[in-house]
């Protein structure tokens, strides 16, 4: 059975969702599909797991949700707040720094 390192992955779902929502308001199903499509199916999970993260972001006031009717279907749309934009910038910078470090390490570029 594959083991995971939760601490290492902390903040990743948040970053991904904030990034997706920075483009346009989306609802839960749409977010999951976008995650799967844009990550090349790298993320596979029970699709309902996305909601605790979204609710957490909403409590932190990083996103705001609103019930909207589009094409005859009423859904809960999530949209990035100004605070969410700031958080996305900070998380992106952190991630880029860490990813660059990991790439350097895996690529064997020693000093």
């Amino acid at each position: 059975m594959r083991k995971t390192n939760p601490n290492f992955l902390n903040g990743v779902p948040e970053l991904l969702m904030l990034k997706l929502l920075s483009r346009r308001p989306m609802y839960g199903y749409e977010i999951v599909k976008a995650l799967q499509a844009e990550s090349g199916e790298a993320f596979t999970f029970g699709e309902g797991c996305v909601y605790p993260y979204l609710h957490h972001l909403e409590r932190e006031k990083l996103v705001v949700s609103q019930r909207q009717e589009v094409n005859g279907r009423s859904r809960n749309y999530y949209e990035l707040s100004p605070k969410g934009h700031q958080r996305l910038e900070a998380l992106s910078a952190d991630w880029n720094r860490v990813a660059a470090g990991i790439s350097m390490l895996l690529g064997g570029q020693h000093a």
Partner: protein
């Protein structure tokens, strides 16, 4: 159409875990939307109806796990959710006093606002407050129902407040019931005493406040009832746990969690301190019980017998003086057989002076004609009455008994008297207003602790935490006895009456009459005998 079982299980688990209503309905609706989207996608790909539903349910994840993850996230989002033991078991114990003070503050604020609105005549300022506090009858008439209301409102605010916090933190009905239990305990041990110029708030186990504790108990019963009703409506959970549910933690891992969580340390330390306090208290109690047993069985009986022998030896009139007893039968407002709180059923039954002989007898060297009690009002009678009597059937003794006809001269006035509930020394409990035949008058104050002590008290000396002897030179213990009430409630104590001698301010003038006037303090004084004393020529 969403799969009713999937959504039903999700909703049921959310309710079981205590997900707040608004969040619950929003989450269920959101999951339904997602499920419907998955079914539509499967149908678009050419699946049949049933196959599409099965595929959608599998893609969504197990509803029980989804519900648990959702609620865990909610719990971790607030301080109350992360520290439920401190928040809902310990905080209520100390919050009632704060809420009580806040309610009092609101009430005072309303008073200020009232005064500001209606003008200076109704102002609730310092002078009106002082006047209100100095008027004991008005103070007590308002204080008792007011305190009852504030306590009830405080208990309601405490219970609903903590229940609301537990509900909002998604901690579920078990924590709501736990916090109701903590609130009930807080109500039981909460103690508040309001006297003019004196407010005492604290916690004590003595005389627990049972009616107040019924408020959180009632809320807990309602929560349990609602939980059962809700659980009965929804479909049952599968009997076996779902394989994706997390396995119970290993012991080693639990220790790790314990070390990382301040809530657990604090709780453990508090429980350890509590156990230590209980153990110390138990040891101390055993020592104290042994000491008390020795006092009760050996020392106090011997000292009581010695005091009674001394009282008997003083039942001879003093020589060198002439004494005239006054018959006060016409002014008696309570026979010796009347209970202290006559007319209030169940209160102090048999607490009277029926064992005191009537007629002329010598007490502490002075003859007195005892026919009954001249009982005056004291605030203790107010406090001892149950609240319904306070509010609807207030029964008071007289605040003064006027024109006790005397008709004679004397050098000293001898009185046989007592008082119920003398708590404070140095207070003027009553006064004897002497009216002379020339129209002048003079007052003799009767002071608690100096001229009289409480009628329930010890007549032994060793380890007596009560006042034992009045301090005034002219006062001495005149009679000691018992009644059914004192035998039932405090068998080590005795009824005590005192003989006090007061110098007549104008011995050359004839006293026409005397008024016996209450000082309107906590104690309730009473007069049994009055004798005029003149020196033999």
């Amino acid at each position: 159409m969403p799969d009713a079982t999937t959504i039903g299980l999700f909703e049921r688990r959310l309710i079981e875990l205590g997900c707040p209503g608004r969040r619950l309905s929003a989450s269920v609706r959101e999951l339904e939307d997602h499920y419907q989207d998955l079914v539509e996608a499967a149908l678009t790909e050419g699946c049949g109806d049933r196959e599409a539903e099965v595929r959608a349910a599998a893609q969504l994840g197990h509803p029980v796990v989804l519900a648990e993850n959702l609620v865990m996230g909610l719990r971790q989002a607030s301080w109350w959710g992360r520290h439920p033991i401190i928040g809902f078991c310990l905080c209520p114990l100390f919050s009632l006093a704060v809420i009580w003070l806040a309610c009092l503050g609101v009430l005072v604020g309303i008073g200020w606002f009232w005064g500001w609105l209606l003008g200076p005549a109704y102002a609730f300022d310092e002078s009106s407050m002082t006047a209100f506090q100095s008027n004991s009858v008005a103070f007590e008439g308002l204080a008792s129902p007011l305190m009852l209301s504030i306590e009830t409102v405080s208990a309601l605010v405490l219970t609903t407040g903590f229940c609301w916090l537990a509900w909002r933190a998604a901690l579920g009905w078990k924590w709501i019931v736990a916090t109701c239990a903590a609130c009930a305990l807080a109500c039981l041990v909460f103690y508040v005493s309001v006297q003019p110029q004196n407010l005492t708030i604290g916690l004590r186990w003595h005389q627990p406040h049972w009616p107040l504790a019924l408020i959180p108990v009632a809320v807990a019963v309602m929560v349990i009832w609602r939980q059962r009703t809700m659980a009965g409506i929804l479909p049952p959970l599968p009997a076996a746990p779902h394989p994706t549910l997390p396995a119970p933690r290993a012991l080693r891992e639990r220790w790790g969690v314990w070390l990382r969580m301040p809530t657990y340390w604090i709780t453990t330390i508090l429980v350890a301190l509590l156990l230590l306090a209980v153990a110390m208290q138990t040891v101390q109690s055993r020592h104290y019980a042994a000491h008390r047993a020795q006092l009760k069985n050996q020392i106090w009986p011997a000292e009581r017998a010695a005091t009674l022998a001394r009282l008997q030896a003083r039942q001879q009139p003093d020589s060198g003086v002439h004494e005239t007893t006054i018959n006060m039968k016409l002014w008696i407002n309570a026979p010796l057989e009347a209970d202290e709180l006559a007319g209030i059923p169940g209160k102090a039954k048999g607490n009277n002076l029926a064992s005191l002989p009537t007629g002329v007898h010598v007490y502490a060297g002075v003859p007195f004609d005892v026919e009954g009690r001249l009982q005056l009002y004291g605030r203790s009678q107010f406090y001892k009455q149950p609240s319904w009597a306070t509010l609807y059937k207030q029964q008071q003794w007289a605040t003064q008994i006027k024109n006790i006809v005397v008709g004679g001269r004397c050098d000293r006035l001898q009185v046989l008297h007592g008082a119920c509930d003398v708590l404070v020394s140095g207070q003027r409990l009553a006064g004897l207003v002497l009216h002379y035949t020339d129209g002048s008058s003079a007052e003799i104050p009767i002071v608690g602790g100096e001229d009289v002590l409480g009628w329930w008290g010890p007549i032994y000396d060793t380890d007596s935490s009560w006042d034992r002897n009045p301090t005034a030179a002219g006062t001495e213990l005149a009679w000691a006895g018992s009644n059914p009430s004192i035998q039932k409630h405090a068998p080590d104590l005795s009824l005590r009456l005192y003989r006090s001698a007061f110098d007549n301010p104008h011995p050359d003038l004839e006293i026409a009459s005397i008024d016996y006037v209450s000082g309107l303090k906590h104690a309730s004084p009473f007069l049994l005998g009055l004798t005029l004393e003149t020196k033999n020529p």
